[in-house]
């Protein structure tokens, strides 16, 4: 049953988030998410904490609503309705993936001044290093703060967990596309019910739910 698969997946995500929490709270210093995640595509260097991730959250919530409507259309045997709302859900999922891709790209290619062995280097955020350490007092680089290297675990956890979630979004989009094609081919109409859409819906809502918790852990607390 889909619910029980989702429980096992929930425990996997939960285990990742809990291990993140344990490491994060065992440290005296941890990067401030409002400093790390303050960019918005197209708006250059403006400092906009939480703005882009809010957009991502709303996209996923709305795609969940369209999924609910698709499932409901399925209960009524409304093939056209199912196709319409499934299509919108797929659009939402792809939009989310695009946003996440931009976020990753921006973090990896960003250049921030880091003080390493007495010299200033320009670092982006990768799995192995990140430029989000404590501010190095007394020096600046082109008028910006210079920091020390940040906690090594930060990159691995961020990319690992958001990547694992993004993979689930991607697989959800693929499943929804398959559902759309099957609906179009009258598979469900001939079968006599749209229960498969309901199961795909459960998976999609689960993906949204996990994002709500990822958003909480990485961006809010």
């Amino acid at each position: 049953m889909m619910w029980y698969f989702l429980m096992s997946d929930a425990f996997t995500f939960g285990a990742f988030l809990i291990s993140y929490g344990t490491i994060r709270f065992s440290q005296n210093f941890w990067p401030d998410p409002n400093v790390v995640f303050n960019a918005f595509p197209g708006l250059g260097h403006r400092n906009l904490p939480l703005a882009f991730v809010s957009v991502m959250t709303f996209i996923l919530i709305i795609s969940s609503v369209t999924m609910v409507l698709a499932v409901h259309a399925g209960h009524n045997g409304d093939k056209k309705g199912v196709m319409k709302w499934l299509a919108w859900t797929i659009v939402g999922g792809l939009a989310f993936l695009g946003c996440q891709a931009w976020e990753w790209y921006h973090l990896i290619t960003g250049e921030h001044a880091v003080l390493v062995d007495g010299k200033i280097e320009l670092w982006g955020q990768t799995m192995r290093h990140n430029p989000w350490g404590a501010i190095a007092e007394g020096i600046s680089h082109n008028g910006e703060h210079v920091r020390t290297p940040g906690p090594v675990a930060f990159g691995g956890y961020f990319f690992g967990i958001t990547g694992f979630h993004g993979f689930h979004v991607f697989s959800g989009v693929v499943i929804n596309i398959i559902m759309l094609i099957m609906t179009q081919k009258n598979v469900f109409q001939n079968r006599g019910h749209y229960l498969m859409i309901e199961k795909a819906g459960l998976y999609w809502h689960f993906v949204d739910l996990v994002w709500v918790f990822v958003f909480l852990c990485f961006y809010l607390i």
Binding site: S26, N28, N38, I61, H75, A134, G192, L220
Partner: protein, 150 residues
Amino acid sequence: MQHPAFEEVSFHHHTDDETFKKKVRKTTILLSVITLIELAIGLSIYTIHKGENPSHLLVLMFKGMVCILTLAKAYYIVSVFMHLGDEIRNMIMTIVVPLLLFTWFIIAFIADGNSYKNLRNTYDPHFKETTMPKEHHTTETPVEKKSGKE
């Protein structure tokens, strides 16, 4: 009672189409409002950190509120969107009970991490001195980013 479109389906909606659509819209608005409140709190936490003498207790309270709001969102998504609220009680319990145990798991491990930090700070002064962030007297303004490509 609305009859499902196909005979094989034994699940009957107990509400009609209009009521259902209303419920979905109400829940969507609720989720959006909760998200907006969480964002407002997140920005407040940010502003507090930027100011003089950030009150750690206040920040902690805000973080607690945000956690509770997220749990509320989870409740609405699972109960309304995933229709768990419409299932038989025993079925609901097979999901809820493990999740409650899981919540215990979360609290225990975060408390563990926190305790580790406190004990280490007590017994390892070198760790405390080298990693404790200094309280700033100047506000920590975020860096003007220079991205590689835009």
